[in-house]
């Protein structure tokens, strides 16, 4: 549905987006991650046709954004980062306006407005002026605008930013629900959100894709993923650490040794599963009369992965 090819954007001498390519199919929810200033919003603005790319191209549903912008734009629903709105209009008036720009009129327009109001839970404020609304309602009004024409493609720039936990949940459920039939790209800082609603995630840093995969894939790539967490007592911490280090399948031990306990992480040797190592630790505990209060495999955390990929290489 969305094809992005070698997209590049320069702002003066600064490279905001650097040769970025990606594609999103129908039924796919793509989480767009990256630190502030990584080029997320710039990329989304180019995909929606707001910014012209320096080079590279975007096609949406087969229509090129530069050659047939109106046909491409018609397929997209877009929620810009700050959820901008015309403050002097009412919710209903604003949605009616956007529905008209999307080519709807008469009863079709009325239905579209009603459906969007219902989907985004705006019934209570539908006749209210937008400048009297709270941030959560404003955000959802802008989201309603993005889905008013039931688009095939949704581009959402930080759709849950500034919402309270309940509202965040509502929006996430919406994204998940709509993701079944649409191609969605949404950006966020919140990693749990990616795990909650994305079928795929991309991490970008300094305008480049540094990781691309399912959230599970990405988690597994974190450096701790596959290591074994151990909390044990029964001997002095130092002694336990030594015993663990001497295991046949253990490559490395890291942790804090206290007087009577040890808590840390043991990495298995290459080509050894965490399960084998855990079993060996369990046997060791039996042999040495250790009390294991924790023994589990690290699933990897997206946070770790994110930090490892996007910090340190700041130039």
């Amino acid at each position: 549905m969305i094809e992005v090819k070698n997209l590049t954007k320069h702002f003066g001498p600064k490279v905001a987006v650097d040769n970025l390519s990606l594609s999103v199919r129908k039924g796919e929810v793509l989480g767009f991650l990256g630190p502030n200033g990584a080029g997320k919003s710039t990329t989304m603005r180019m995909i929606t046709g707001f910014l012209p790319p320096t080079s590279g191209g975007v096609t949406v549903g087969g229509d090129d954004m530069l050659e047939a912008p109106n046909r491409a734009k018609a397929r997209i629903g877009y929620l810009p980062e700050s959820a901008p709105l015309y403050l002097d209009m009412t919710v209903e008036g604003f949605l009616g306006f956007t529905a008209e720009l999307r080519g709807k009129s008469g009863s079709e327009k009325k239905e579209a407005v009603d459906r969007a109001i219902e989907t985004c839970f705006l019934q209570k404020v539908r006749r209210q002026a937008i400048d009297t609304l709270s941030k959560g309602y404003r955000h959802r009004t802008c989201l309603a605008q993005a889905i008013i024409h039931d688009p095939e493609v949704l581009i959402l720039d930080e759709p849950t930013d500034g919402l309270d936990p309940n509202q965040k949940d509502v929006v996430r459920n919406l994204i998940r629900e709509m993701g079944k039939t649409k191609a969605i790209i949404f950006s966020t800082h919140i990693l749990e959100e990616v795990e909650a609603c994305c079928s795929r995630a991309i991490i970008i840093d300094q305008g480049r894709i540094v990781a691309d995969g399912t959230p599970q894939d990405l988690r597994r790539r974190a450096s701790r993923a596959g290591a074994v967490h151990v909390v044990a007592s029964g001997l002095s911490g130092g002694a336990i650490e030594k015993e663990l280090g001497g295991l046949r399948h253990a490559a490395r031990v890291e942790g804090s040794a206290l007087a009577e306990s040890f808590s840390g992480i043991v990495w298995p040797k290459q080509n050894t599963g965490a399960g084998v190592l855990a079993a060996e630790i369990y046997q060791l505990a039996g042999a040495k009369n250790l009390v294991l209060s924790e023994l589990h495999e690290d699933q990897g955390r997206l946070d770790d992965m994110f930090r490892e990929l996007t910090s340190g290489n700041k130039s």
């Binding site: 707001f50 109106n70 015309y86 403050l87 002097d88 209009m89 080519g103 605008q145």
Partner: protein, 248 residues
Amino acid sequence: MRNVWIVFKRELISYFTTPLAYVLIIIFCFLSLSLCLFFGGFIERGDASLSSFFYFHPWIYMIFGPAIGMRLWSEEHRMGTTELLLTMPISPWEAILGKFLAAFTVLAVTLLSTIGMVFTVLSLGEPDVGVIFSGYLGSFLVGASSIAITCAVSALTRNQITCLLVSVTICLVLTLVGFPPISDLLRSSSFLGIKLGFLADICNGVSLFWHSTEMARGLMRIQSLIYFISLIGFCLFLTSVIIRSKRA
């Protein structure tokens, strides 16, 4: 065309849901009538004509046009709604035209509300209706030009006050270059032995003031019409260029 209409409608409603349009209309009527009555010698002249009424219009438009037009794009830029509007399946042209026409309509409503002056002179004597029509058309075109200038300036900045000041300055310059004291001065002076009379003609040619006073006198020249229409067209074109380059 449909999209122009949709943008136009929204923009016009927005003018009249905020107090802006009403305030501007009242100020315009008050200024144009009081200047005409107290400084234009409308009564003393004893002549059933509106020339003293139209004489002040270019001066009022210097502020009135920018005041109407300053929000056109500045407000969109400030609120971030440009991003919303320009990612809709419409061309920037349609948005620019819709917005300009809405401001244009506010101007038309304003001028229409001074129609009482026409009935006044009609009841006082037998004015030349053709001259009145020409005066109104001239006034209308000066107003539209100052709005178009402001439209281009407003695309440049997110600050309405900056837009107002810059547009007023541009309109002031375009008015003053054709102001008789200045063209007379140019006509009577020379520089390095070259007579500057031709400069006066050039200045008159680009001046809002000169074209509008000519039209207020009933001289509806094709040159004046071309001047106004090309000025408006150029400013709207400039607006689209600015909007495009702002995004690049």
